[in-house]
Symmetry: C2
């Protein structure tokens, strides 16, 4: 980065341009397995126009740009760049408009899912995409995130109706809009969703919301084996029960969660967490079917969490999975896998993961969004022990290849980042050239989050 | 088209290469308002490889290519090209695989929605996207179609999980896959969905399916005014009732439909058609709410169609809207509008359409997918009367501008085709350059359906 650019950025942003080592260190990686890489500077724009000016300047001077939200991504998506700058969007955290009667809203990129839901509560509506972390909605758009409620409410791909994106050349474009559907030209919205900051910076997100259901009922069910639990989930989906959440935790993860979140009355055995959204009577109807299926697979009777506080406590344990595993080691890190397979293959895939974990000799807490065929092995490790990382990577590679063999995907919701570039080549050998040609067209100087998703050369 | 290309195509396709005037005439337009344009030849490939060879040859010789499915598109999307060839995909009509337990299937581009649903019935699953026409699934993908059940089941954009696409250079690529979700690289699937054959030819479509609901109940409700009907629909959606279909027909369209489909027991007044999918008890619950809301807006009591035959008859009338209007004139044509607005604006927009139809002096049968804020004025005309087309176009322009003013879109589900290029410029002035740059990258010789969606120069 030359001096002239530094001066221009300073003039534009004043104290919102930082080169201090501690600041740069805070924005040097996400919740991933990579060592931090400090960018030359971190900038904190407050408006689309500022983002535009920054990108234009960087593009003219071929300076790499790393967009940064809450830093909760898991695949190295926001690791810094020694020759570039990191753009933190944290000052763009305003809820711009809410149309309760139309179930839609528009937010700046760094509004988090909890901030939004807090704001919406009084209107009787909510935003249903629920990854583990309290992530920024712009970041969730960038990685095509989903989480626990995708089985009922969809993913970022299906709830985003429009975006404001700043392109590398500084152009500010609006895609999509407020309507529930549109066929007006190419679907640029869904091109930028999941592009992990490699095509431009998402600064605003237009979202579809949902009415808060009349009745919400959560329950927990224990199983004698992981296979029984997973098979139950598979059958619930194949039966077509309209369930809002169906999450699996294996015995190891249950033990870790119970300990970390000080849970009572539940056991460290393979477990399914259920949630039902609907009218009271339709919930009871669906619960009956699910209880029956669980019983057939040797499940325990349901333990209920009926009021809001109990429910939140239950789900807190689920949300804390990542942090509970991370806390196992001092300065520990977590290597999370993210394969997703057709629902008929989920039992086989989870079983394979268990067997391979034993074979590789790795500790393998597991959590899964069973309704979508997506699960994570949440591998804890101490980064000081250099040899273990290789082992975890080999385990993940084995699991990924199994998922591909089962007609699955290398990533259900975390994205590719730095972790899975080689596997993306295996999954989409024929369409990567098209991805690259789009990248080259929109970002000819390769300044946008270079080296993420794929290498251009 | 030079002689050498003709010879190569003939050698490749034999009798599946046709230059007869009658064949060329049959593939010269869709169900649109344009005069037919005969391409130089029509070809009928049977495999991805044949499509690839044809495109490669055309690309090398800069010959325009028009992909053609069932020819039911409404916006001039498949009008022929005097210097090009039309590729009919009608011989690619095989259902390739069905995974009932995973609710997904893969079909060739010219499988129609009815053909697929016929095939799936025994498995207790169905494909829920339901436009008026019995369209080809490849064509429905190309225009990002939706129809009567989008309010519950989504649109082509949300039910397609993967595609096989042949690019202009002959490359055959596979996007997406079988899983319910994926974050593996750019979402090329949704880039090709809605691209109206301008980026490549969709030859295979991977679809999400739905379980046939335990109970389906259809009802009809009459209203004293169109405003009352539309307001009821608006309130049903805002109340969050999980309805599967909520269709509006105005008085004129009701009269036309009753006459054309020989319907009994329903009246030529503003009407809502409802359909409820779920368990019997949840349907009864939802019906109660909808009946209450209808009554509050002066609706009649519900007329029920309970068994399959009655239901099909009812919906046949809805499906036949286009043909019933077309049949009003000998050799008549239909000019269908397609605006979509946020649900809170739908009453205002429909009322505006009614007023403007009077002002312009045009006959205005109307039908609407009320749950999505999307409605069509289905304008009948005699193409021999040259002055009327101008009037209809002016009426549509006025309606489109009103929709844009109401934060709506120029097309909810028909696409842009030739009809709405100028309006697309108004809706997406800032993002059209991005669309064009993607087009230029993937189709540098502009052979794919040139002149549709936008003009490149």
């Amino acid at each position: 980065m030359n001096e002239q650019v530094e001066i221009e950025l300073k003039n534009l942003l004043n104290s919102r341009y930082s080169t201090s080592e501690s600041t740069r260190g805070n924005y040097a990686r996400g919740e991933d397995t990579y060592d931090p890489i400090l960018s030359k500077a971190v900038v904190f724009p407050e408006s689309n126009e500022e983002v535009s000016k920054i990108l234009k300047l960087c593009n003219e001077n071929k300076i790499p740009v790393i967009p940064f939200g809450t830093g909760t991504s898991l695949e190295g998506n926001v690791v810094g760049n020694e020759k570039g700058i990191t753009i933190s969007l944290e000052k763009m955290n305003k809820i711009l408009s809410v149309n309760a009667e139309d179930f839609d809203c528009r937010v700046q990129a760094c509004v988090t899912k909890e901030q939004l839901n807090e704001y919406l509560r009084e209107d009787g509506i909510f935003f249903p995409i629920d990854p583990g972390a309290n992530a920024a909605l712009g970041g969730m758009a960038s990685t095509s995130a989903s989480g626990t409620m995708a089985v009922k409410y969809g993913t970022m791909k299906t709830v985003i109706s429009g975006l404001t994106v700043v392109l590398p050349n500084g152009d500010i474009i609006n895609t999509g809009g407020r309507t529930k559907k549109t066929s007006a030209g190419y679907n640029l919205t869904n091109l930028f969703v999941g592009s992990e900051g490699t095509l431009g910076i998402i600064t605003e997100v237009h979202l579809r919301l949902s009415p808060i259901p009349e009745s919400i009922m959560s329950a927990v069910c224990h199983f004698p084996s992981l296979e029984d639990a997973v098979m139950t989930a598979q059958q619930v989906i194949q039966y077509g029960v309209p369930i809002a959440r169906i999450e699996m935790l294996n015995a190891d993860q249950m033990g870790i969660s119970i300990n970390y979140s000080k849970l009572k009355d539940i056991e460290a055995v393979p477990t399914l967490f259920f949630e039902f959204h609907g009218s009271e009577s339709s919930n009871h109807e669906n619960i009956k079917i699910v209880e029956e299926l669980s019983k057939d697979n040797k499940g325990s009777s349901f333990k209920w969490a009926k009021d809001l506080e109990d429910r939140n406590k239950l789900w807190q344990a689920r949300w804390d999975v990542y942090y509970s595993v991370k806390a196992l080691n001092n300065n520990g890190r977590v290597y999370s896998t993210d394969v997703c397979v057709p629902i008929s293959k989920i039992t086989e895939c989870v079983k394979f993961a268990e067997e391979q974990a034993k074979k590789f000799g790795v500790r393998a807490p597991m959590v899964g969004h069973m309704g979508d065929g997506n699960f994570h092995v949440v591998l804890p490790y101490d980064p000081e022990q250099k040899d273990i990382y290789k082992k975890l990577r080999a385990f993940n590679g084995t699991l990924i290849r199994k998922a591909l063999e089962l007609e699955g995907t290398i990533t259900g919701e975390h994205g590719v980042g730095l972790h899975k570039k080689e596997y993306l080549l295996e999954q989409h050998p024929d369409s990567i050239p098209v991805m690259k040609s789009i990248k080259r067209t929109l970002d000819p100087n390769n300044i946008m989050n270079p080296g993420k998703i794929f290498d251009l050369n």
